[in-house]
């Protein structure tokens, strides 16, 4: 009898040990992880004299750090966007390149990239609200309306994870929730939509992705515009200058770059410390635009990031340093 008991006890100890390990040794990784980007401090690790940005808590920041409080005379720029602004690596993405260019011109500046893949207007706002605590001198807001369904999907997942309905009880364990999450993202969401549709519950991804191209897509587009304006209000209230960078992409079967009409729309809201910049306008000065994009015609190659940084440089200088000393 004891022989059998040992195995069960060992299994229980193993499970509890794993859970304990996750909660104690990997707490940073798990805090906010199941808020799916809606946790205010996920990825921000505050130390005594500095803040570390980490790929943690379900928020994949590039590893960076900045001093707290901000050294006197230093300008601090935060770029908040999605996978386009995030780039292939920290050093290849335009926020870093822009910082280097500004330093080369003699400015005491640090440019931090807080872009996360799949982030739409709602989750960018959550990041921004946290950023306001770290004395920003300029925010570059990389705009794109194509992530709203992911924002909604992750919002629903976060609500589900918070639920205390009995079918969620086991998911209160970090280990179980993480396994479920990995299986959903790496295996389930790769299945064709028709297969996923045969599962009656919890396929927010399929449901929302399908809705994106219908009426819901228009609703989200409008939502994106109004929420962006609210974000600008918030930044104005904190008197923080902002560069609105509208995204550009190449439509299927075309050579020219598109901005979805957002360039014009946001130029109408330039007052009160808001500057605008356009990927389309910056890239149109180049001879071979498609060469600047990846195969998906949306994400930008490292060469494109260099051009974007160069194009942004005068805008940022004008917006940030107008009337200020180097």
């Amino acid at each position: 009898m004891r022989y059998i008991t040992k195995a069960f006890l060992f299994a229980a100890a193993l499970l509890l040990g794993l859970e304990g390990l996750a909660r104690l040794a990997f707490e940073d990784t798990f805090v906010g992880r199941f808020d799916y980007g809606y946790h205010p401090t996920a990825g921000f690790v505050e130390k005594a004299d500095h803040v570390e940005l980490r790929s943690a808590g379900g928020r994949r920041f590039w590893p960076q750090s900045f001093a707290r409080p901000k050294p006197k005379g230093r300008y601090r720029i935060f770029t908040v966007g999605d996978s386009v602004a995030r780039g292939r690596s920290l050093e290849q993405a335009y926020p870093y390149l822009l910082g280097e260019m500004l330093k080369a011109k003699g400015y005491d500046v640090e440019s931090l990239n807080l872009s996360v893949s799949g982030y739409g207007v709602r989750r960018r706002l959550v990041v921004l609200e946290q950023v306001l605590k770290y004395e920003p001198d300029l925010i570059i807001l990389h705009l794109n309306h194509s992530n709203e369904y992911e924002d909604e999907r992750e919002w629903r997942r976060a609500q589900e994870a918070k639920s205390w309905y009995p079918d969620q009880w086991l998911r209160k364990s970090y280990i179980i929730a993480r396994l479920d999450e990995a299986k959903t993202e790496r295996l389930f969401w790769k299945l064709p939509a028709d297969i996923r549709a045969t599962r009656e519950v919890r396929d927010h991804d399929a449901e929302l992705a399908a809705a994106e191209h219908g009426e819901q897509g228009k609703v989200w587009e409008q939502f994106f515009r109004t929420q962006t304006l609210k974000t600008l209000e918030l930044l104005r209230a904190h008197q923080i200058p902002v560069v609105l960078l509208t995204k550009g992409w190449i439509e299927e079967g075309k050579q020219e770059i598109s901005d979805g009409g957002y360039d014009l729309y946001f130029k109408q809201h330039q007052e009160g410390g808001v500057c605008t910049a356009s990927t389309r306008e910056i890239f149109e000065l180049e001879s071979n635009i498609p060469q600047l994009f990846n195969k998906d015609r949306v994400h930008i190659k490292p060469s494109g990031h260099v051009i974007l940084a160069k194009g942004l440089l005068p805008k940022v200088e004008r917006c940030l340093f107008a009337g200020k000393a180097k």
């Binding site: 195995a7 179980i176 045969t198």
Partner: protein, 522 residues
């Protein structure tokens, strides 16, 4: 109530905790009450059906053993199902046609007068008459609820074929969950009492608990009286080893059902929902997925049932023994749904003569047994065809020398024989999974469609299937030498603990997909 409902563990452990705190008599009542609550949670009305089946067999088997019940008890028992339905109706707890209430009352009275009349026959004829009454009542109930619509539809189709078709009559009768299982259990008990293999049970609550024992009520295993009833009659002493074995079986059962079957169901349901738009890659994936879905689903159910019963100190029969390692059709049926196979063998195939009267009669008996086994699964011609297919396989393995040798192969040919039988089994599942003939033809046609390239979608589906089937194959490999395919007792305790932890994590991270057990519909 389903084993996969979130509240089932609370129900099970709550009842088990109460059970061990009570005396023998109170335990019997507790098991009976728990079983009726378990079944009633699905539909309270059909408790009257189980009660009727129980009372008929109780009266008939006791009469066979020469025990006459008092007239008032017999009358009360005969009318109990109607009283139950009347109570539900009076308190507005369930809705049904008043005709049903009248039918239940009249059936009860007819049974009572028949019971009274048959008792006065001389002993030999009385025993036979009560056996017939028990069997006929059970088969009529089963036939009405499960096959009435099927036979009406088939008769109408025949009339249409003969040019005599008129207005079609639509018959929709709700199928009571598990009816095939508990009626077969009742019939076998009556037959065993008739042949004096076992005595009738004089204690109604114990007998009622035997018919309705909740762990095996809705999907088996189909128990015999001498196996289950004798255990329910005994006073059990709490044994921690049973609790451990029970928990292990429950864990393995959930692993098979929740992790393997429910996830394989995604691919199988997709492929079989529109076979006309599939190609050979998708169909192959679909039939493999269904093979593991149905195995995980049903053997998982059995494991949970056996584990749940062990928490009360009751041992249920094994129902599966590595069926996909079978080397021949007869080997397959000795490993798949064992309690149904042995039921068919003992109560149908052997009484028909079995294999004692030459090849031709053996083949005839095989076809009768397998056609009825097929029909037992459901009231469609596809299940009959599935029975026919397996009967043909059984016959072919008897008469074709190559196949006969495969059954008794040695060395590396053992694996050849297993692969061949597995392919035959997959062929059977194609029939089983098809709701009708045209759907089946579409699935066959899909095997002739060769796409120009292997799509990424197929690759992703294959990955999903592999992720959910490989752990099951590992479990089968680990337990291959054990008598019981869920037994891990031969492994070192630390490895066993690791097995339990891994299985628990796999189950817990899959628990959100809730798919009903396939065998509930049978």
């Amino acid at each position: 109530m389903s084993f996969t409902a979130w509240y089932y563990p609370f129900f099970l452990f709550g009842v088990a905790a109460l059970y061990w705190g009570l005396g023998h008599r109170a335990r019997t009542w507790l098991l009976l009450a728990a079983s009726y609550v378990f079944y009633g949670a699905w539909d309270w009305r059909f408790l009257s059906l189980i009660a009727a089946s129980t009372l008929v067999d109780y009266f008939c088997t006791n009469a066979m053993d020469g025990r006459l019940l008092r007239r008032l008890s017999a009358l009360a028992g005969s009318l109990a199902p109607a009283v139950w339905l009347g109570g539900l109706s009076a308190f507005d707890l369930a809705r049904f046609d008043p005709l049903i209430l009248q039918a239940a009352g009249i059936s009860g009275l007819v049974f009572f007068f028949l019971y009274e009349a048959l008792w006065h026959l001389e002993e030999g004829r009385r025993r036979k008459a009560f056996l017939l009454l028990s069997i006929v009542t059970n088969l009529v109930t089963l036939g009405f609820f499960k096959y009435f619509g099927f036979f009406v539809d088939s008769a109408q189709d025949l009339l249409v074929l003969a040019g005599l078709g008129g207005d079609s009559l639509v018959v929709e009768i709700l199928l009571p969950v598990g009816i095939s299982f508990y009626t077969f259990q009742s019939i076998s008990f009556a037959v065993d009492v008739y042949y004096k293999r076992i005595h009738a049970c004089g204690d109604l609550p114990t007998f009622a608990a035997f018919i309705a024992f909740f762990p095996q009520l809705v999907a088996g295993p189909i128990e015999r009286g001498r196996q289950l009833l004798t255990q329910l009659e005994q006073h059990h002493v709490f044994d921690m080893a049973n609790v451990h074995a029970g928990l292990r079986l429950i864990l393995v059962g959930y692993f098979k059902k929740v992790f393997v079957a429910n996830n394989c169901a995604l691919i199988a349901n997709y492929v079989f929902s529109s076979p006309g738009s599939m190609d050979i890659y998708w169909m192959t994936l679909g039939v493999l997925a269904f093979a593991f879905q149905i195995y995980g689903d049903f053997s998982g159910y059995t494991d949970i049932a056996r584990g749940s019963a062990l928490l009360f100190g009751v041992r249920l029969e094994r129902n599966f023994a590595f069926p996909y390692l079978a080397r021949s059709p007869s080997d397959f049926w000795a490993r798949w749904h064992i309690t149904l196979s042995t039921w068919i063998r003992d109560y149908l195939y052997i009484p028909l003569g079995g294999n004692r009267h030459g090849t031709l009669m053996t083949v005839r008996n095989l076809y009768i047994a397998m056609l009825l086994a097929g029909l037992w699964h459901g009231a469609t011609w596809m299940f009959v065809l599935w029975g026919f297919y397996h009967a043909t396989l059984l016959a072919l393995y008897r008469v074709v020398p190559f196949l006969h040798h495969m059954e008794h192969a040695h060395g590396h040919r053992v694996w050849m024989s297993r692969v061949l039988m597995f392919l035959f089994t997959l062929g059977g599942w194609l029939i089983f999974r098809s709701p009708d003939w045209s759907h089946f033809l579409e699935t066959l046609q899909a095997f002739t469609v060769w796409p120009s390239e292997f799509s990424r979608d197929v690759g992703h589906a294959l990955g999903w299937l592999a992720f959910h089937v490989l752990p099951l194959l590992v479990l089968q490999y680990v337990t291959r030498k054990a008598q019981d395919e869920s037994s891990l007792d031969h492994r070192m305790w630390a490895l066993r603990g690791l097995d339990y932890a891994v299985m628990f994590l796999l189950v817990a991270s899959s628990a959100v997909i809730d798919v009903e057990f396939i065998y509930f519909q049978f």
